[in-house]
């Protein structure tokens, strides 16, 4: 089988840079990481300098995703040799045990870390992941209440929890259009006129932060259309929302036209969008 460097005609530096980019982007493209990383480690480890350790960590985690326990163990052993008392490596040991579904042993490792360092958030996150993997959602939620800031739980049927988490996230990350847009989606899903109006406002805010967010655009269209169609709103509110919806529809059409330039295939999407927007206009009036 051809090597990655032969297949893609790349040198070891490019492979190393690709791995760095995937680390920075937090991509979970584990198969690719394993392909590139395994070759880099086996053929060029000596050239990587201090980068080699973080690459071992990255490849180890990707290997677990791909059921490559042989590779994961190799990386782990190198890391253990180099950093014998490290909490970070202990966490990796725990992750390997999780992948092998040896949850009790994994938890022992994480508890040991937390005894030594109760602020270690990585170990806490792993414990919650184990509860999730075991289907113990109730316990996971209780654990999460101690660690709410950066995790949204979508498994409870009560959307109040993800809504609360997103509110915290929006406060600390006011420029992040994704949190804004997701919050709007949660509000929309919770339903009711008040939530719909809130959702419309947050979709608009997301668009202000990033005017190319298609989900925000569609969301604005849907929420404004539903508000306009509601029998409970005043004539002015109805009129305003028809305006918002019309603006959004226009932007959506433009976005599709732009995307469809030069490709024949996308015409079907565009036509479907035009028809959808037309049909919804009828229900609003």
């Amino acid at each position: 089988m051809a090597s990655v460097s032969e297949l893609y005609d790349v040198g070891w530096e490019e492979m190393r840079d690709k791995l760095r980019k995937w680390r920075e982007d937090n991509s979970r493209n584990s198969e690719q990481i394993v392909d590139v990383g395994e070759e880099l480690i086996s053929d060029h480890a000596s050239k990587l300098g201090d980068d080699v350790w973080i690459i071992y960590e990255q490849v180890m985690i990707a290997a677990l995703d791909c059921s490559r326990d042989d590779l994961a163990l190799t990386c782990l052993q190198e890391l253990r040799k180099q950093f014998p008392d490290s909490h970070r490596v202990k966490r990796l040991t725990g992750m390997r045990l999780e992948a092998l579904e040896r949850y009790d042993e994994a938890n022992k490792h994480y508890d040991a870390i937390l005894e030594d360092d109760p602020t270690n958030t990585a170990a806490r996150k792993r414990k919650i992941s184990i509860l999730k993997a075991q289907g113990k959602n109730g316990e996971a939620i209780r654990e999460l209440n101690e660690y709410l800031e950066h995790i949204a739980l979508w498994h409870s049927h009560d959307l109040a929890i993800p809504a609360f988490c997103l509110e915290e996230l929006m406060m600390t990350n006011p420029h992040n259009h994704l949190y804004c847009e997701q919050y709007a989606e949660v509000k929309y899903t919770q339903g009711g006129l008040e939530n719909l109006e809130l959702s419309r406002k947050y979709f608009s805010q997301a668009l202000r932060l990033n005017n190319r967010n298609m989900r925000a655009l569609f969301g604005l269209y849907m929420s404004a259309s539903h508000i306009a169609a509601s029998p409970k709103v005043s004539a002015k509110v109805k009129k305003d929302n028809i305006k918002y919806a019309a603006w959004a529809a226009n932007q959506i059409n433009r976005a599709y036209k732009l995307a469809g330039r030069g490709t024949k295939e996308n015409k079907c999407s565009m036509k479907a969008v035009e028809e959808m927007l037309d049909s919804m206009q009828i229900t609003m009036s």
Binding site: T189, G191, A259, S279
Partner: protein
């Protein structure tokens, strides 16, 4: 009326599942609209000729789901298709029961197509060789979703479906599978998946 899956429908469902092994995924099953209304329709299977992969990760949020359903419904009308069912693969390996999301979407679909089915993918049996069918089919009977035995008759041609799905999984074609989420990230991504459809045809 039981549903039957073509190779294209089955294989795209599995490719979607394989593309996001760490997420739940879902999608719609598409059938051809039959012109004649058979009065005695019992036992005549509904052939699902295709599927449209929808989302991965968070499946439970309403607005994009509404957009997708409306858009795909419009597309179906233009092509004489109808949305005939819903598929879902859950996030956890050992969990293959339909949840609230599945039931809600299926209820929506049932409004337009009374024989709508839920197809759940059994993640624990997903293999590259595809030696056996790994779907569980649920029908709506007396207000409950009950699962029905999946046989070779649930497929238009099981050995063809098996051969094609296995080949595409081995070749990692799932890397190029487009779902509605991918489309929302970049409108140029085509959720009808013409490239994969062509690969399926070439392998027939």
């Amino acid at each position: 009326m039981p549903i039957q899956l073509t190779s294209q429908a089955y294989c795209k469902m599995l490719l979607h599942t394989a593309k996001y092994p760490h997420c739940a995924v879902n999608g719609l099953l598409i059938a051809e609209k039959s012109k004649e209304k058979k009065k005695d329709g019992h036992g005549v299977p509904v052939l699902c000729v295709d599927c449209v992969p929808l989302f991965h990760g968070t499946l439970a949020l309403a607005p994009m789901l509404e957009v997708a359903l409306t858009l795909i419904d419009t597309w179906c009308k233009e092509n004489n298709y109808i949305i005939a069912g819903y598929y879902q693969a859950n996030e956890r390996k050992k969990d293959s029961k339909p949840n609230q999301v599945a039931e809600k979407v299926a209820a929506r679909i049932t409004e337009n197509f009374s024989e709508a089915a839920i197809v759940m993918v059994d993640n624990s049996r997903l293999t590259v060789s595809c030696s056996e069918p790994i779907v569980v089919i649920y029908d709506h009977h007396e207000n409950k979703w009950r699962n029905r035995e999946v046989t070779m008759g649930s497929f238009e041609d099981w050995s063809e479906a098996q051969k094609i799905t296995s080949a595409l999984l081995v070749g990692r074609s799932y890397e190029n599978l487009i779902d509605f989420d991918n489309h929302l990230d970049d409108l140029r991504n085509d959720w009808t998946n013409p490239v994969i459809n062509k690969s399926v045809l070439d392998l027939c």
